[in-house]
């Protein structure tokens, strides 16, 4: 039996506005519990919402970045349910008239193929507070700092067909929101949350199978694992002749399994109705164009430009633009040293390797773009060889001094003085008579050995090209 997986992702992105969606309270992360909740956030009697325009602008930016319809008249609705982390007893959200309509984004898979994934809609809504169960001995602590923070809920079309595609979509989404600078997009911290809707059907079927919603996934890695587990679980049930229960399931990352949370069939009736305390949000073309004018260059555009302007391969360009920080870092390096290919290698190779090893962000890098650019410039002007540059690079991690100072300190300047190199080579020829004879007799391979000896003698500092040339001359 051949099965097809259908996945849709619901991603909640916390918008990085300074204040909340409907109140002026700060949204800064990490404050003491209940110190960032004002009378509106606490739902005191008589309080009223006032919409944060910055959140609207961020939502529109996102819509434009995914080429979506922008809702020129969007409406807030009340979504009613009782829970202690929801002070008003309703969440202000958007149901029938969201700020962003149908759009799409292009995802590049591991094998290089591209797929266009539809985004059904994106809407603004308030976040709830946090319920803390540990530390409270049979009770629950409610922290309302987060209550009222603006969220953008982004719903994909059920276009994804396997876990890897889902991860690629999520990463592309993450990249876009980071480029737009509308959110920290940090899954571990909760500023980007992903729920996966998963169903399977027999290949050829047009109707969708019963789906389950998977929650509590907090990393890209777990998205892949959770989906794969769920697909397998559903397959086993269906192949055994059973039926899938439409429900919400929680992903347990320790046990790598999903567990039933509540049945969506007896789901809450949210009794949505238009929010009477807010007017419909009406925006015109002028507003939309002014937001469009503020858009930064997005990953796809940047990638194209890197390929054409810098002559990079599509693959290299793709890697460089996968994060805005890396792309900007790279551009700065090129600005300084003028060599795009070398810069690309160093940034995606040595530097990225260093950052990943230590779990550092580009912003935390001990080697900034200026210094890396200078390092590469010194290779190009032959002050040091590429190989020696690696040694300098290592030194630069601990030593914050500028590149030239480090090269000096460590005495790593390349030897380019032909006189000095000549004496080096003379010494090598003198000390290796057998190999010299073998070369003169026609054994070409031994040349490399002799070059190596010269490099060793110079402690790696001799300019390799010159060594090659002078040695060849002397051996004629």
């Amino acid at each position: 039996m051949s099965w097809e997986t259908v996945i849709g992702l619901e991603v909640h992105v916390q918008l990085s506005t300074q204040s909340k969606l409907f109140s002026g309270t700060s949204t800064k992360f990490g404050a003491e519990p209940n110190t960032q909740a004002n009378i509106y956030d606490l739902a005191l009697p008589g309080t009223l919402p006032v919409m944060n325009e910055a959140a609207l602008a961020m939502a529109v930016r996102f819509g434009l970045a995914i080429n979506a319809e922008i809702g020129k008249k969007s409406v807030f609705d009340r979504k009613n349910y009782f829970y202690p982390d929801l002070p008003k007893g309703y969440q202000v959200s958007q149901l029938h008239y969201p700020i962003v309509g149908l759009g799409s984004l292009t995802v590049t898979l591991e094998d290089g193929t591209e797929r266009v994934i539809g985004v059904t809609r994106a809407h603004m809504e308030e976040d709830a507070g946090k319920s803390l169960h540990e530390d409270f001995h049979g009770m629950t602590g409610i922290d309302l700092n987060r209550a009222g923070t603006p969220l953008l809920e982004i719903v994909s079309e059920p276009d994804l067909r396997n876990a890897k595609e889902a991860v690629a979509y999520l990463k592309k989404l993450h990249s876009i929101i980071r480029y737009l600078d509308i959110s920290d997009g940090n899954m571990a911290q909760g500023s980007m949350r992903c729920d996966a809707n998963v169903s399977i059907r027999r290949v050829g079927d047009t109707e969708l199978g019963t789906r389950t919603e998977i929650k509590n996934i907090n990393s890209f890695k777990f998205v892949e694992k959770a989906i794969n587990y769920e697909v397998m679980r559903q397959r086993e049930i269906l192949e055994d002749g059973g039926r899938i229960v439409q429900e919400t399931r929680l992903y347990d990352s320790d046990l790598n399994e999903t567990r039933s949370m509540r049945s969506k069939e007896v789901a809450n009736d949210y009794r949505y109705f238009p929010e009477p305390d807010l007017l419909p949000v009406v925006i015109d073309d002028q507003y939309i164009e002014s937001v469009r004018a503020s858009l930064p260059e997005l990953p796809d555009q940047k990638s194209e430009r890197f390929a054409t302007e810098f002559g990079l391969s599509h693959y290299d360009a793709g890697v460089l633009v996968s994060s805005r920080e890396m792309a900007e870092f790279f551009e700065r390096v090129v600005e300084i040293c003028g060599d795009a290919k070398l810069s690309a290698n160093w940034v995606t190779g040595d530097l990225l390797g260093l950052l990943n090893k230590n779990n550092w962000e580009f912003a935390d890098s001990p080697i900034d773009a200026e210094r890396l650019g200078t390092l590469i410039a010194r290779i190009k002007d032959k002050t040091i060889s590429g190989k020696i540059a690696k040694t300098v690079f290592e030194a630069m991690i601990e030593d914050q001094d500028d590149v030239d100072a480090i090269i000096d300190k460590k005495g790593l300047k390349q030897v380019t003085d032909s006189g000095a190199i000549e004496s080096l080579i003379d010494e090598v020829i003198t000390n290796n008579p057998d190999q010299v004879q073998q070369f003169r007799d026609g054994k070409e391979a031994v040349f490399g050995y002799l070059v190596g000896q010269a490099m060793k003698l110079s402690k790696g500092k001799a300019n390799p090209a010159q060594v090659n040339q002078i040695l060849r001359d002397k051996l004629k």
Partner: protein, 488 residues
């Protein structure tokens, strides 16, 4: 002294005939003696009032000419007053001390008015007789066995009994106008959005509106000048300049076209009430107005539409009262669900529960389209009726209530109570300004005449009401309300 109007008291203060402290003490004495019987006030702010009065006297001495400076007022207990208990007539908020001031309260404070206290009201503004209050019913000063009307019954009774010269109220379906009619005073509801709802505890968000309760249209105009205006903290507040509402009071009514809706003079209207209102209409003709018969064809749907929309919005607005963060919480809850259930069962009265249930039902899956959506569509039709009418006329006049004040406990059927607002409710659904002014008596009890104008035509409405009050003296009638020993 207490029998005077705002305008008269302002003059007395400026002339040095009295001081704000003296005036305030005078009202406090009357409240002290009368309130036990009348139950118009839930909270009296004796100390704070006298402190405010002293400051007002200082301002007056410095030459401050604000029209309400030093004048004592009462706030319906639905307005948040910082540092003062704000109960909304409910056990649910009996212990709630507001940490902030409603915009309406701020405006009166800034203008130098003196807050005497918080007046009684139907619980969460749900009622037409002030009998649903957790703090007991309010009595009508004209007849202590009868209701003052609701939900702003406390404010109306207080003004009628001269326990304050002005009071704030709120009107969602008639809650300023109907008590004004029952108590023989003037109650004004402006257009929706004219006065800020910030700090005004929400009942039905798209219908609630604050307004003045006082002795005359002139006084209402003075109060409107203080209360009206854009407030950015209320997203439904309208960005329209506030005119001086006293400026056009003296305009002649010559050529005024008055619409008389057929539907408001039909079955159910008490004969004496009808007579009083028709006499009032003749008065308007004497003043130069023409009467035009008009139709409000969808009027009969207004009560039904209202009793879907208002409870629906209320059911959500009252969800926050759950015992978690403030207000009433049941004793020793066993778990979350127990706390929610018992807090809300014990904290809310029957009428509030009734409306929450109705509202929840009207919004629920499978019923939303048939009830809530349908009601909102009817609302548009009702508004259109008014817009069509205002093509032909300038104001619409009819009775405020089908009868005068009824006896306490007389209306035990909730639906019968809902029909009390049959003439006033459509005005809230349409968002228009309306006012009730005294127009006569029925069996010794006051009868109110109801006037409605077009969107943001408050100035005209006040002008028309004021001219009626120049030509008649119904609004000068006082109840035979005695305060024992030591009263003024």
């Amino acid at each position: 002294m207490a029998a005077r109007t705002i305008a008269e008291l302002a003059l007395a203060l400026r002339d040095g005939e009295t001081s704000s402290v003296e005036l305030t003490q005078h009202y406090l004495n009357r409240i002290n003696q009368a309130n036990t019987g009348l139950n118009a006030y839930i909270t009296v702010c004796e100390e704070q009032a006298l402190t405010q009065a002293k400051l007002a006297d200082q301002r007056l001495a410095d030459g401050d000419s604000s029209p309400v400076c030093g004048i004592p007022l009462a706030h319906k207990d639905i307005f948040c007053t910082q540092g003062i208990t704000t109960t909304c007539g409910s056990r649910m908020l009996a212990n709630f001390v507001a940490p902030y001031n409603a915009t309406v309260v701020e405006k009166f404070n800034a203008a130098g008015a003196v807050t005497l206290g918080k007046t009684n009201m139907d619980e969460f503004a749900m009622g037409s007789s002030n009998e649903t209050s957790f703090f007991g019913p309010v009595k009508n000063p004209w007849d202590m066995e009868r209701v003052p009307g609701g939900s702003s019954g406390g404010s109306a009774a207080a003004v009628a009994a001269d326990l304050c010269v002005m009071a704030t109220g709120t009107d969602t379906g008639g809650s300023i106008r109907q008590p004004a009619a029952f108590c023989g005073i003037t109650g004004f509801k402006p257009s929706y959005g004219r006065i800020s709802r910030w700090g005004m505890i929400a009942f039905a968000s798209s219908l609630d509106q604050a307004g003045p309760i006082c002795k005359s249209a002139e006084d209402a105009a003075i109060m409107m000048n203080v209360m009206a205006g854009l407030d950015r903290k209320d997203s439904t507040s309208v960005d329209l300049a506030v005119p001086d509402y006293t400026a056009d009071l003296e305009k002649s009514l010559d050529g005024l076209r008055i619409g008389v809706p057929r539907q408001h003079f039909a079955e159910g209207l008490n004969a004496e009430v009808e007579t009083a209102v028709r006499e009032g209409l003749k008065e308007f003709e004497k003043l130069g107005a023409t009467l035009v018969d008009i139709d409000l064809p969808n009027n009969h749907l207004s009560v039904s539409a209202y009793y879907v929309v208002a409870p629906a919005e209320a059911s959500a607005n009252l969800s926050r009262y759950d015992g978690v963060r403030y207000g009433y919480r049941c004793d020793n809850p066993v778990d979350l669900e127990d706390m929610y259930k018992r807090t809300r069962s014990e904290g809310f009265g029957d009428e509030v529960k009734r409306r929450i249930l109705v509202g929840t039902y009207a919004l629920s899956a499978g019923f939303y389209d048939a009830y809530y959506r349908k009601a909102q569509q009817i609302r548009r039709l009702i508004k259109q009726d008014f817009l069509d009418a205002f093509d032909q006329v300038d104001v619409i006049v009819g009775p405020t209530s089908p009868h005068a004040a009824f006896a306490l406990g007389a209306k035990s059927d909730p639906v019968a109570m809902y029909l009390e607002d049959i003439y006033t409710i459509a005005v809230n659904l349409a968002g228009l300004p309306g006012v009730s002014i005294p127009a006569g008596f029925s069996n010794g009890l006051p009868v109110g005449m109801h006037l409605v104008a077009g969107d943001f035509d408050e100035a005209r409405l006040l002008n028309v009401a004021h001219q009626f009050q120049r030509a008649t003296d119904w609004h000068l009638q006082r109840p035979d309300f005695k305060i024992e020993e030591g009263s003024a």
